[in-house]
């Protein structure tokens, strides 16, 4: 079954983005993916709540796409959560608008994967650091997919890794959009990138 994907992209400094923006641009060419540049639409942080809620209702998969910064989302995306995920809409009494949808983070981190371990300098895994978002998804009744993460993003382009990342990313999005992705299996996986081949069903 076709899945409609809402890609909420939040990057406050796009003219300096080396990994995140190319990924976003690549996603724009995939059918069934609605790409929203939040900083482009709300440069003054004045978010149109109704419009954003309508967007949520019209999609099956919600993706937050952002550079990981101070172990969290950029400010505008946090503002978006605070305003759009209203009581009575996303959670609480009568707040079932998002129930049954899937939620996923797509992020770029400056540190290497090694850094996001108990013995690394960040001391916590990426999954652990994203727990606030995971729990947000839980409260809203959404099924949480592990993050699509790119580590060492500052050097991805110079190291020649970027093309590979983009390819994995577009493969994933197309598969989800076309209903060729094992969503249930995805939710149980610890990492999407490592198990991409297993989770994507080549023919439906």
């Amino acid at each position: 079954m076709k899945q409609k994907i809402l890609l909420l992209f939040a990057h406050p400094s796009q003219h300096r983005s080396q990994a995140n923006l190319p990924l976003f641009k690549a996603a724009q060419n995939i059918e069934g993916v609605t790409c929203v540049d939040l900083y482009g639409e709300y440069p003054d942080y004045h978010i149109d709540i109704d419009r954003e809620q309508q967007r949520l209702l019209a999609h099956d998969i919600i993706v937050f796409m952002f550079p990981f910064y101070w172990y969290s989302t950029p400010a505008l995306l946090k503002e978006w959560q605070d305003l759009v995920l209203e009581y009575g809409f996303a959670y609480g009494q009568g707040g079932t608008a998002l129930a049954g949808k899937h939620f996923m983070c797509a992020l770029t981190a400056g540190g290497s994967e090694k850094a996001y371990r108990a013995d690394g300098y960040n001391h916590f895994t990426l999954g652990e650091l994203l727990q606030p978002l995971e729990q947000t998804a839980n409260i809203c009744g959404m099924k949480y997919l592990p993050p699509f993460a790119i580590f060492g993003s500052r050097t991805a382009a110079t190291d020649g890794r970027l093309q590979e990342h983009i390819q994995q990313w577009t493969r994933l999005l197309s598969a989800i959009s076309e209903g060729r992705f094992d969503m249930e299996g995805g939710c149980k996986a610890t990492s999407l990138v490592n198990q991409l081949d297993k989770l994507i069903l080549e023919a439906v």
Binding site: S13, Y39, P43, G111, R154, T155
Partner: protein, 677 residues
């Protein structure tokens, strides 16, 4: 002629010296006028017999005051007052009359005389009470409103009283035919006195224009001879004229006059309106004060309301002052000394008695706290109506001359004591009430929100006004273009015609109570002048001004404006931002660049202003504005060039990831740390 000048000078000089003195001592202007009257009258004898004639003229001040009060009171507000007006007012007049008449009868005064005295003393002084309430800011309190309801009822009650008093005539002097002549001739002395109430009016009219009617009963009303139906019709006709003129004809007339641009003609029109209505009311035997009050209420929604107020206000003020002076001057020392005990006793008895009735009514009508005391003590005196009714009672032989002289003294003395009661209220009772109410933690009823006055409602002022109105802020909008005001009224924006740079107009627009003034008039010189004047008179008022350009902005700030905005600055900045976006800049970057520009502008502001002021001083006033502006432009250009570097760095800081290699460095440090452990 010189004699008049001397007299006029004596009155004016007395007021000029005493009133500011009284105000400075916290006694209020009314007491100042009264004392001034006592000084030039009984104390030094500078003025004498003409006082009484003058008093009738001065009573026109009361008529004007009621017109102004009417202007403040919209018809729907009057309608809301109806139960208080009739209930509170009716019970006050009735209760006081019964109590005073009853007390008089205990002292074996004939019941007819006692009743007349009761009626006369039941009335209070509209002039003193409204003037003092306005001065002390009590007009809008619950106590002030209740007092006003009672005063208005009294005003209406005077008319039936004038009709009723002749029936109380002493049987011994039952020479009704004589009375009418007497009344007519006495009143005719005051010819030209437009303001004298009821009796005089009618009688004057009778004497002046209608010789035949001199013999009608009671001498009170030239139209009383007419069949009741026709009389009633004429009264209804007169009121209809007032309503029709006020509602439909006044606005086109005022617009026509305003278009001429001659201020004095507008003043003449305003005066003609008030005088004309007074004359009309006099003709049908109604109180001129009531007629002008009605006209005021009808005009309360007019766009010319504030202009009317500011034109009538000075006349009202002077005439009322004159009236208070004549009351002071009318006090006769010999009479006072001879009957000191009696007069003081009766005066105090009247005040205590009336206060008692008012206090009971305040309890019944649930007027609480300090408002209860405002009502009780404000209306405890006898009033200027008392003089009129006393004179009339003498004419119709209800009271004898000696009695009238004494009672007139009681009225004057009670009026004299009223300002003292106000001081007692303000200095002793109110602070105590405040304390106890603070203890009770009772929530205050918000009397009226602080108003914002907007001067000039063109393209700029309109937007400010709409934003404020949409948020429930009450605004008073002034514009000097009658056309503009008319347009705004069509879209239901409350606006008033008038030159906002005139201090009197700002005064009537309520600048004393306002919390803010927004200056958005097009004429730069006048705007500057306005800011300067307003800041001088009301240093605590927030003044926000719209500037035409940079130089104008500095001048406005220099003149004391609290906030100045250049009219084109923000829209130009917005346009620049939009241009950047069309050029391909990311919206968020365009937003940040625009903000950076604004910050630089803000940073350099002080510097630029300082250089602007130095230029001003160096070259003196003769330096042309253009030259100054060019210097300013140079300074700005320099600042902008410098800014390029600054802006770049400040924008760099907007949102930066850590430098490349930083993560690796951290990692290696971590490794070293782990190994050394």
């Amino acid at each position: 002629m010189t004699g008049y000048f001397v007299q006029a000078f004596v009155y004016l000089a007395a007021a000029v010296i005493m009133v500011p003195l009284a105000k400075r001592m916290g006694l209020g202007s009314v007491l100042g006028y009264l004392v001034a009257g006592v000084i030039i009258g009984p104390l030094t004898g500078l003025v004498g017999a003409e006082t009484e004639t003058l008093q009738h003229v001065a009573e026109f001040g009361v008529v004007m005051m009621l017109f102004l009060v009417g202007l403040e009171l919209q018809p729907q507000m009057l309608w809301q007052m109806r139960s208080k007006l009739v209930g509170l007012g009716g019970l006050q007049v009735g209760g006081s009359t019964v109590l005073i008449a009853g007390t008089a009868m205990l002292f074996s005064v004939d019941w007819r005389m006692a009743l007349a005295i009761g009626l006369i003393f039941a009335l209070s002084s509209t002039a003193i009470v409204l003037q003092s309430h306005g001065e002390k800011g009590w007009s809008k309190t619950e106590g002030g409103r209740a007092s006003f309801s009672v005063l208005l009822f009294q005003d209406i009650a005077v008319i039936p009283m004038l009709a009723f008093l002749p029936f109380l005539a002493m049987p011994a002097a039952d020479v009704v035919a004589d009375l009418a002549h007497q009344a007519a001739s006495v009143a005719a002395d005051g010819a030209g006195d437009v303001a004298a109430r009821g009796a005089e009016h009618a009688a004057e009219h009778g004497a002046g224009h209608d010789e035949d009617s001199g013999g009608h009963h009671g001498g009170s009303d030239p139209l009383a001879d007419l069949p009741p139906m026709i009389y009633a019709l004429s009264v209804i006709g007169a009121i209809s004229i007032v309503v029709v003129v006020g509602q439909f004809l006044s606005t086109p007339l005022f617009r026509f006059v305003a278009a001429s641009g001659l201020r004095e003609v507008f003043t003449a029109t305003a005066l003609a309106l008030v005088v004309g209505i007074s004359a009309l009311m006099g003709m049908v035997g109604l109180s001129p004060a009531l007629g002008t009050f009605l006209a005021g209420v009808i005009l309360a929604n007019s766009e010319f309301r504030h202009e009317l107020e500011s034109n009538i206000e000075p006349f009202k003020g002077l005439l009322l002052g004159l009236f208070f002076i004549t009351v002071g001057a009318g006090i006769s020392f010999p009479v006072l000394v001879d009957n000191f005990g009696f007069l003081v006793g009766v005066t105090l008895a009247v005040i205590v008695g009336k206060a008692l009735v008012l206090y009971l009514l305040a309890v019944v009508f649930k007027v609480r706290g300090s408002d209860r005391w405002i009502l009780t003590l404000s209306l405890a005196q006898a009033g200027e109506f008392g003089f009129v009714l006393l004179a009339f009672s003498l004419q119709v032989n209800v009271l004898d001359a000696a009695m009238v002289e004494l009672l007139a003294m009681v009225v004057a003395l009670s009026m004299f004591l009223t300002p003292l009661l106000f001081i007692l209220l303000e200095k002793v009772l109110m602070p105590r009430m405040e304390q106890s109410s603070n203890e009770q933690q009772e929530e205050d009823v918000i009397e009226e929100q602080g108003e914002v006055i907007i001067a000039g409602v063109g393209r700029f002022g309109q937007i400010v006004n709409r934003l404020l109105l949409a948020n429930g802020v009450s605004t008073t909008v002034l514009d000097h273009e009658a056309q503009q005001v008319e347009h705004l009224r069509h879209i239901r924006i409350k606006s008033y015609f008038g030159d906002a740079t005139r201090m009197e107009l700002l005064h009537t627009a309520g600048i004393e109570e306002a919390s803010m003034l927004v200056v958005a008039i097009d004429d730069r010189e006048r705007a500057l002048h306005l800011v300067h004047e307003v800041k001088r008179h009301y240093p605590n008022l927030k003044v926000m001004a719209r500037a035409f350009d940079r130089g104008d902005a500095y001048q406005l700030e220099h003149a004391g404006a609290d906030y100045v905005v250049k009219e084109t600055y923000h829209s130009a900045l917005d346009m620049g931002k939009q241009a950047l976006k069309y050029l391909g800049y990311h919206p968020f970057q365009a937003e940040n660049l625009t903000r950076a520009f604004d910050e630089v502008e803000e940073e350099r502001k002080e510097e630029l202003r300082a250089s602007w002021i130095t230029t001003l001083h160096e070259k003196g006033v003769s330096a042309s504005y253009q030259e100054q502006f060019m210097k300013l432009d140079d300074a700005l250009l320099l600042a902008m060039q410098k800014d390029r570097v600054d802006r770049h760095t400040s924008e760099e800081r907007g949102w930066t990831p850590p430098p490349i290699g930083y993560a690796e460095k951290l990692e290696s440090e971590q490794d070293i740390g782990a190994k050394t452990k």
